[in-house]
């Protein structure tokens, strides 16, 4: 039996455990969390749209004609029943004097079928008009990029791979079943590779599917014309690279955690060290940046993640990406890092002994 066939046999035998390890079922929650966010957002928007449309959408041209200075009664007369109407009083100083006065305020909003148009009144007169679309495709795409890079790559795939790959050897040590593999006529390196492939298949399927579901959820609630034009322009390209980034995340983090499972007993230690290393990567010299998985993953993400100006400076520093690398260089770099880590792991697995008593 050639060694490639052995790798595949081991992966086949191990794959069920990699998918349904009782210690790693929470991985599915992490993988599906972005999808839940986007589905929730879409359902919320759809519900509002239906509720407001049921009252009858106000024609956009009617709303456009309303100018500042109009009274609230005039607006109500022209535009009809609003989707919401709030009134309150604000107490403030009259001019420069110490004397207080109550000013009545009112906000009336209309829905024109796509946008929410809001009129703000002070003392019965219109002072400000604002409008915002119920669903903004650009904003949602930026939100997806942010969720993917700040949550999915940095946390979900990171901890998901921790759960799946650490268990490949450490979990069997705890279950006292690792000897089953060590008594097979298989080189230990081949065993490592087979188990790694099983973890990789499971994690790529879980997180790749999670990415596709979240992306689909983000698109599904958009205006269909806008969605199709995006899909034909950049959409297919974007989702392809998001899935590639997720898969490469599994390749990189998987190798690190399978090695950690062989070298260390406590998975918390490698997780914390790795998370710190990945977080401070942006501050490291160029050479050291190349030893980070995240560095390469950020470089192949198709859309730059937005950075909110209101983020605290420390968080902005942690989230800011390191100097980008070209996509193909990134893939090559990541695969090199993975090979080096797997070589270290193969040395460890050759030395590994069955000693359940001490685990």
């Amino acid at each position: 039996m050639n060694e490639l066939a052995q790798v595949w046999t081991i992966a086949r035998l191990e794959i069920g455990r990699a998918f349904f390890s009782r210690r790693a079922l929470w991985v599915y929650l992490l993988a599906l969390f972005p999808a839940v966010i986007f589905i929730g957002h879409g359902v919320d928007v759809t519900y509002k749209k239906q509720r407001w449309s049921a009252r009858g959408a106000t024609p956009a041209n009617v709303l456009k004609e309303i100018a500042n200075g109009a009274s609230d009664e005039e607006v109500l007369g022209k535009a009809g029943q609003p989707v919401f109407d709030r009134q309150w009083n604000r107490r403030r100083h009259r001019g420069e004097s110490e004397e207080l006065e109550d000013v009545s305020r009112r906000t009336i909003a209309y829905f024109d079928g796509k946008r929410l148009v809001q009129f703000d009144f002070e003392g019965g007169k219109l002072t400000r008009t604002s409008q915002r679309p119920l669903l903004t495709f650009d904003e949602d795409r930026a939100a997806f990029a942010a969720v993917f890079q700040y949550f999915y790559l940095r946390l979900a795939i990171f901890f998901g791979c921790l759960g799946i790959f650490i268990n490949l050897f450490r979990g069997e040590m705890l279950d006292k079943s690792l000897h089953f593999w060590f008594l097979a006529p298989v080189r230990r390196e081949i065993l490592l590779l087979g188990k790694y492939c099983a973890g990789l298949i499971a994690s790529v399927v879980i997180f790749g599917t999670g990415t596709i579901i979240a992306f689909t959820a983000m698109l599904a609630f958009q205006d269909s014309a806008e969605m199709w034009s995006y899909w034909q322009a950049d959409g297919a390209y974007h989702i392809t690279w998001y899935v590639i980034a997720a898969a490469l995340g599994c390749v990189g983090y998987g190798s690190v955690f399978v090695a950690a499972g062989l070298l260390l007993r406590n998975p918390i230690i490698p997780a914390v060290v790795m998370l710190l290393w990945e977080s401070i990567n942006g501050f490291l010299p160029n050479v050291l940046q190349k030893l980070s998985v995240l560095h390469y993953l950020q470089s192949i993400c198709p859309v730059a993640a937005p950075m909110d100006a209101n983020f605290p400076p420390a968080l902005r520093m942690l989230l800011s990406p390191a100097a980008p690398t070209a996509a193909w260089q990134s893939i090559g770099g990541l695969l090199c890092v993975t090979v080096v880590v797997l070589l270290v792991a193969s040395r460890a697995v050759r030395r590994l002994e069955i000693n359940y008593g001490t685990d």
Partner: protein, 309 residues
């Protein structure tokens, strides 16, 4: 390629705890029993020869192969460990088939061999049940099935007779004998010498990580016969029984049981002692029962380690 299993000056420490110390062994084909009390190093010796643990010093070869080459060694070796666990959720049948697939057998051939091995250990009825639901004896047998399924030349079995009912036990021993008759190695461990001495070709006695005695079973048995055995005679009149026993030449010590149950007797000749007890009983002195009090292997080790005193 050598037909022997060879340990050359092998030591193994688990941190500061001794596993085995300076072991030299030359094990020929046939049934070899490793006998010793719990914690004496039997499992360590088996784990060393199968590569599950690595020696701190010394070298091991199994029929010329190093345990550091599992891809070659495991083709000729089957090991039924003492570890109860199997991969989670598998049935006995799947467990044996999975092992065979790793040997490179095509699925059809793996299934045929698995069925045959399972039948050999009389587990056909329970083959489709989850291993997790098996009794201790059934787990023992399914591990044995997995170890023999690829028909190895070296069969290593850790306490293989534990938890087996008498019928299966007899069948299992017959299986070992067949293997040995074909020129294969059958290495098994036990902490009860009497359990294995009837069918072993050679025995290795181990205590505290060191080999205490090693050789063909008949030679070791003679040494064991020299070992005085202690019995407790339950009787109504201990003083009378003691005085009658003193007249027997093979009796080395007689004393009254401190707990008042009867007489404690030390003899070097079990058969003669048995005849003496029969004579005393026939003479009208009431003897309620005879119980061996040191028929455990620990007592034998104390004797052997102490140089036969």
């Amino acid at each position: 390629m050598s037909d022997f299993i060879v340990f050359k000056d092998v030591s193994k420490f688990y941190g500061e705890v001794l596993g085995v110390n300076r072991v030299d062994l030359h094990i020929p084909p046939g049934i070899t029993s490793l006998v010793g009390p719990n914690g004496s190093g039997k499992t360590t010796l088996m784990n060393l020869m199968t590569g599950l643990v690595h020696p701190g010093s010394g070298t091991i070869t199994v029929r010329g192969l190093s345990p550091f080459q599992p891809e070659k060694l495991m083709r000729i070796l089957g090991y039924a460990t003492q570890y109860d666990a199997a991969p989670r959720g598998v049935t006995g049948y799947d467990f044996v088939v999975a092992g065979l697939l790793l040997y490179g057998y095509a699925p059809g051939e793996a299934e045929r061999r698995a069925r045959q091995a399972i039948e050999t250990v009389s587990m056909t009825q329970a083959a489709d049940r989850k291993v997790a639901a098996y009794s201790k004896g059934m787990r023992q047998r399914i591990r044995l099935a997995q170890a023999i399924a690829h028909e190895p030349s070296v069969l290593v079995l850790d306490e293989p007779l534990n938890g087996l009912d008498p019928l299966v036990r007899a069948e299992t021993i017959a299986l070992f004998r067949n293997y040995a008759a074909e020129g294969r190695h059958v290495i098994l461990s036990s902490h009860v010498l009497q359990e294995v001495d009837v069918f072993s070709d050679q025995v290795i006695l181990i205590a505290n990580g060191m080999i205490v005695a090693e050789g063909e079973i008949k030679n070791v048995r003679e040494e064991i016969h020299e070992h005085p055995s202690q019995f407790l005679l339950h009787c109504q009149n201990p003083s009378r029984v003691a005085s009658l026993l003193f007249e027997e030449t093979h009796i080395t010590e007689v004393k009254l049981d401190p707990e008042g149950r009867g007489v404690l007797v030390l003899t070097r000749h079990r058969d003669a002692f048995s005849e003496a007890v029969q004579r005393i009983a026939l003479s009208g002195v009431e003897i309620d029962g005879v119980v061996p009090t040191d028929e455990n292997v620990d007592a034998l080790y104390e004797y052997l380690i102490g140089g036969g005193r």
